[in-house]
Amino acid sequence: MSEYDVINSRLSRLDTPDKATGRALFIDDISFSNMLYGAILQSPLPHAGIINIDTSAAEKLPGVKAVITAKDVGTVKYGVSPARYDETLFCQDKVRYVGDEIAAVAAVDQATAQEAVSLIKVDYEELPAVLSVEEALAEGAPQLHAEYPGNYTAQVHQEFGDVKAGFEICDLIKSSTFVNKRQDAAFIEPPGCVAVFDLHGALTLYSSTQVPHYVQRTVAMVTGLPVGKVRVLKPYVGGGFGIKASANANELAACFLSMKTGRPVKMNLSREQVFKLCRARHQFLHKMTTGVKKDGTLVSLEHECYLDGGAYSSFGIATVYYAGSLLGGPYKLQNMKYDGYRVYNNKPPCGAQRGHGGVAARAAWEQQLDMIAEELGMDPFDLRLKNMMQAGDVTCNDLNMSSLGMEECLQTVQDGSEWKKKKGRLPKGKGIGMACGFFVSGAGYPIYRSDTYHCTAIVKLAEDGGLAQVYTASAEIGQGSDTAFGMIAAEALGVPLSDVRVMSGDTDMGVDLGAYSSRQTLMTGHAVKEAAEDVKHQVLEVLSKELSVPVQDMSIKKGRVVFHRQEPDFSELRTRYIKEHRGWTDNPKDEPLTFREASRIAYLARGSIVGTGKYKPHELGGKYKGAAVGTSPAYGCSAQVVEVEVDLETGQIRIEKMTDAHDCGLAINKTSVEGQMEGSLSMGLGEAMFEEVKFDARGRVINADLAEYKIPTAVDMPPIETIVVESNEPNGPFGAKEVGEGAIMPTIPAILNAVYDAVGVRIFELPLTPERIYTAVQDYHERQKAS
């Protein structure tokens, strides 16, 4: 039995009845009277100078209310990280990828807006384009940004310990190279927004974003409006996975169009435009060399990585840091060297996607660790257990594993999958593989340098008593954060979840950096807990005065006031409450003093009872350059076993079963934790098996739809067994930490290791299409024959 009344349970989510019945409003379900529709003109060329833009025909089209270009909106640079603001809303003199924004139109309906866009005439001067890392880094290559020479967005060079000296004491040194492919987040809801500029000069932007706060700042910065006059609201959002974690051109264009026309403007992206927007997982090329001792002790890791970045930075700087820093654990490793390069080219910009920066690196390394285990004659589990960090350990790059249920994760997946019965005993064509991973529980620092709180929360009691309203600016994007915060507030306040209402996703409610880097449960959770405790304390203070009972001798539990010592006579309070509720049929009678009464009495004494909470991480480790990326107040970790069957004649892989254990600290809502694990696994499976955004020689996406960009269907997913491992995270609210992103970490390498077990050939490139498997097996046999 849990010691808690609300959290650590399987309560149904607050938002799902609305979502199950079609009531829940998503961005495209929101309309305003007199609303205009926006459309955007995007470059058809990967790299070109703009000679002239002629909007006259578009402007003349009946029904068109505004046409805007860089001339109208200026060229304020924006982006994700202030260190690399390299985008302007519209291109002025040059386009850098197929999809780069040039102009936007607002018209009375969508058809007119689209027609108007097609009437804008742009004269281009085509420039040579670079479409890969190699082309971009070649000598004399065309340069994308004069400010960032060599087509490098960023370079990272780090060394912890002494890698070279480490190699010298190693018994086995293993090198391998690995490459994944550019992803698309493929959320089912394409992004959209509605901007409403009102008569008071204030702008309200409704957007399917995961970061209302950053969008608010960016909109204010680019439009020149004061931050206080920009309000960003997010309705229900159909998934984000990182791609909706920064302001996009659509949002900015809608704002300008609304400011210009004085009317609400709606802008939707089509599915094809989602692929042009991209901002999803990069293609990473990893070269790794790991040195170990005979007994399996990991000693040194030398690591080089190239990121195929696209035309702008987006999250790229953070990404290139994460790609290195997230290999610091969960194994004891003293020496680690990392050289990372994020490279511009004329493709849509990549950014952050679930497991930001670390997914391909993890896949590359966990596969290499399996190769090492095999060569040392060790079971893959034993190699990992041998090097496993324990709670309290600090990595060589200064990440503090304040809690770490890694060992329990390993044990439970080993047992849950019957690993020992299966490993090495499966018939040819069948295989079993495992891997581990860990991830930050919230970025330690905001994206812009600041001493800001990462989140604030307000809990307000209904004046009439009994109900608590929770306000945060956090982003419920499907992960269940509203429910988690409702549960945290209810627990901290001592009331059932049904007595809590949760409001979120509105910058008017405070500051919250949003849903990214697996941060909200820990961070917003802290703020909500503090606000609820504040409210509780205020109520108890009033009671204390009224009843002459010290505050510390009372608490609130399950909606009732609990007296730890003798119960005082509260009949006078009850009479007062009932007097104010003549005619009510549900007035309290013989029961103990209720929270409803107590909170009404508190209001009568003090006016509205409002509690506030806030959170920012304590001083975190790491004083070196780049230490801000990877440090976190806590780390989630996981282990996974995957079983596959490979058709050796065709190369087709069937994933038969996945067993996953994840340490999320204390699980606020166990069903939601499992949901995050299951979702992570399917995204990982998709990336491992099918997914790849492909381009033609002109830099255009060939497979910009969900037919040819293949995400897993229900038939492609095997049954998943999830095991929730609960450590107690000292830095988390009630001991909770992350699950949303970390759970994806072991999936790809576990599949790679299982496929190797099945076919006897290592694959170093994703996705694992039948053709790739077949060809690899063929090549291997050819080589065997030849030697």
Binding site: A111, E708, K710, T713, P770, Y774
Partner: protein
């Protein structure tokens, strides 16, 4: 995603439909399930100024079991091909093709006629239809004409169908007792996939000596149109079925195909898979006879 503007007709008879086709020529497009046409119109690949819905052509969505033949109306839903008992009992390879097509949602809209007329090289129904020796009935104002399906396809999206013609039915001879057929496809995902390769085989055995009396092998996605694999068929004709023979036929089939490399798959892989698929689908066909 807006559709461009167009006029809409919903004729009640084949005659009426043919008249509209004749009057408006190339600017009109028949609309069956729309799973191909609507997508292409949204993408702007085809821009008809008039759309001719086949929804009201009642005679076109029946499956009829006649004495020696089975007649499938062109507007029969792909879902119906799965549910229909006649198809399940007599044309199992066609049922297998239908099961492999798209998703349950798509199969509730897509028609057999649309699958044939869209003439995609990787379409799921033509291989099975080809090995059953299907004929297609094409109607114009002049009346019907019947064409062998194997002569129907001209290239990707290209057929012998004239602008004033409608495909109204597919006719197949009822397979004899000692025959069997199968269909297999290979893709990246398990469902909702454009096949990298697909294929079907039909075998009829001589009841006396068990040799292969009649054989048809068809392949998709390895040539500009679905094709009959005649070299594979030659290798099988008159022989006694055996594992070795099927392997040989599979190898011969490689010479029948001229696959291309595109972003979905390489030519060499497609060629290699031809052998595997042909061998396997022959095994399926044989198993069916033995059942």
């Amino acid at each position: 995603m807006l559709l461009p503007k167009f006029e809409y007709d919903e004729p009640r008879s084949i005659e009426e439909a043919c008249e509209t086709l004749r009057t408006f020529g190339e600017t009109v497009k028949p609309l069956a399930g729309g799973t191909d046409l609507m997508v292409n119109m949204k993408k702007g690949v085809v821009r008809p100024s008039r759309v001719l819905s086949l929804k009201k052509l009642k005679t076109c969505n029946r499956i009829e079991k006649l004495d020696a033949t089975i007649r499938i109306g062109a507007c029969t839903l792909v879902a119906e091909l799965i549910q229909n008992q006649v198809i399940a009992d007599t044309l199992p390879a066609l049922q297998a093709g239908a099961k492999a097509l798209g998703s349950p949602l798509i199969r509730n809209l897509a028609t057999i006629g649309g699958n044939i007329c869209s003439a995609r090289p990787a379409a799921d129904l033509p291989p099975a239809l080809l090995v059953y020796g299907a004929r297609v009935v094409l109607h114009s104002q002049q009346g019907p004409r019947t064409v062998l399906l194997k002569d129907f396809f001209k290239g990707p999206g290209q057929t012998v169908l004239r602008g004033d013609e409608l495909l109204t039915a597919i006719e197949l001879d009822r397979p004899p007792a000692n025959s069997g057929a199968g269909y297999l496809n290979l893709g990246i995902r398990k469902v909702q996939d454009i096949d990298i390769i697909n294929g079907a085989a039909y075998l009829a055995l001589n009841p006396r000596d068990g040799t292969i009396e009649k054989v048809r092998v068809a392949l998709g996605a390895v040539a500009p149109t679905p094709i009959r694999a005649s070299l594979a068929e030659q290798a099988l004709q008159g022989q006694k079925p055996s594992q070795d023979l099927f392997v040989q036929a599979g190898q011969a089939a490689q010479q029948d195909c001229t696959p291309i490399t595109d972003f979905r798959g390489g030519a060499a892989y497609r060629k290699a898979m031809t052998s595997v698929l042909v061998r396997r689908v022959l095994e399926t066909a044989l198993k069916q006879i033995e059942k």
